[in-house]
């Protein structure tokens, strides 16, 4: 499973702290899938809600954006990071 964690506005819109996605089951037997493909899939689960508006993402503790050329596999962790406001 890939765990996709939601924070701030994304958590409010999904009404969840996270979703678990089985890559092989969801993406026709592939072991890995591009981040952007995973994000497209998640967005379709929440049609009409702009859950990724202006968001960055972290894949295994590295910041990525929607267009980053990175693959995710089961056991990875993806964090949805809406615009931050610490301090």
């Amino acid at each position: 499973m890939v765990r996709v964690l939601y924070f701030a506005s994304a958590r409010d819109l999904t009404e969840k702290e996270y979703d678990d996605v089985d890559i092989a089951k969801t993406f026709k037997g592939s072991n890995t899938v591009p981040l952007t493909t995973l994000l497209d899939y998640i967005e379709r689960l929440y049609v009409g809600k702009k859950i990724f508006q202006s968001a960055l993402f972290a894949v295994n503790d590295e910041y990525r954006d929607r267009t980053s050329d990175v693959d995710v596999k089961n056991s990875d962790e993806v964090v949805v990071i809406p615009p931050v406001s610490g301090g």
């Binding site: 964690l5 924070f7 701030a8 506005s9 409010d12 202006s54 972290a58 503790d61 910041y63 964090v79 990071i81 809406p82 615009p83 931050v84 406001s85 610490g86 301090g87």
Partner: protein
């Protein structure tokens, strides 16, 4: 043995200043907590006989925003990434400035008006490094750490905030 100098200040024989170039939990302290923060605690973590200065920043909840009255802020954080990203920021600070110790304490949960949400403390042999490092660290925190605040207004509405953009390139290193 030749007497060493640091920043044009002569040092005792055999004395080596501990301006570590690598961030390390041994002298760079990181805490995210729902407890009340303490400036004393943050300062004592960086206090050093080698320091001529401890510079600090405290972020507090202000009672206004954009013409409206604020009741309180509520913070959330993704702690594992906040920690790894913070140590990257401290590493960058150590490349720009001569720093002895740092501490960063950030509160999560409810922070009422007037209360403290974040404390940063930095010690250094000379004050210019500590003052500049604190400024660099709080600006970097606001841009880079996965921490969010929700603002509760007196009309009952609340919204997740977004920090204004900050020019981190304006923080130039200090040459020694």
């Amino acid at each position: 043995m030749e007497k060493r100098t640091c920043c044009n200040h002569q040092l005792p024989e055999g004395y080596v200043p501990e301006h570590h170039k690598d961030a390390n939990a041994a002298y760079d302290h990181f805490l995210i907590t729902s407890d009340t923060l303490s400036l004393d605690k943050a300062c004592n973590l960086v206090r050093s006989d080698s320091a001529g200065a401890i510079s600090t920043f405290e972020g507090t909840t202000r009672n206004t925003f954009n013409g409206q009255r604020v009741i309180r802020l509520e913070y959330d954080a993704y702690q594992p990434l906040a920690k790894t990203e913070w140590y990257k920021i401290v590493q960058e600070a150590r490349a720009k400035y001569h720093i002895l110790g740092t501490s960063m304490h950030h509160r999560i949960g409810k922070v009422d008006v007037g209360q403290t949400s974040v404390i940063i403390a930095v010690s250094s042999a000379h004050r210019a490094d500590a003052i500049s490092a604190v400024h660099f660290l709080i600006d970097s925190l606001k841009v880079r750490l996965p921490i969010w605040k929700k603002e509760l207004l007196d009309d009952g509405t609340n919204s997740w905030k977004q920090n204004e953009s900050i020019d981190l390139d304006a923080h130039q290193p200090i040459s020694h």
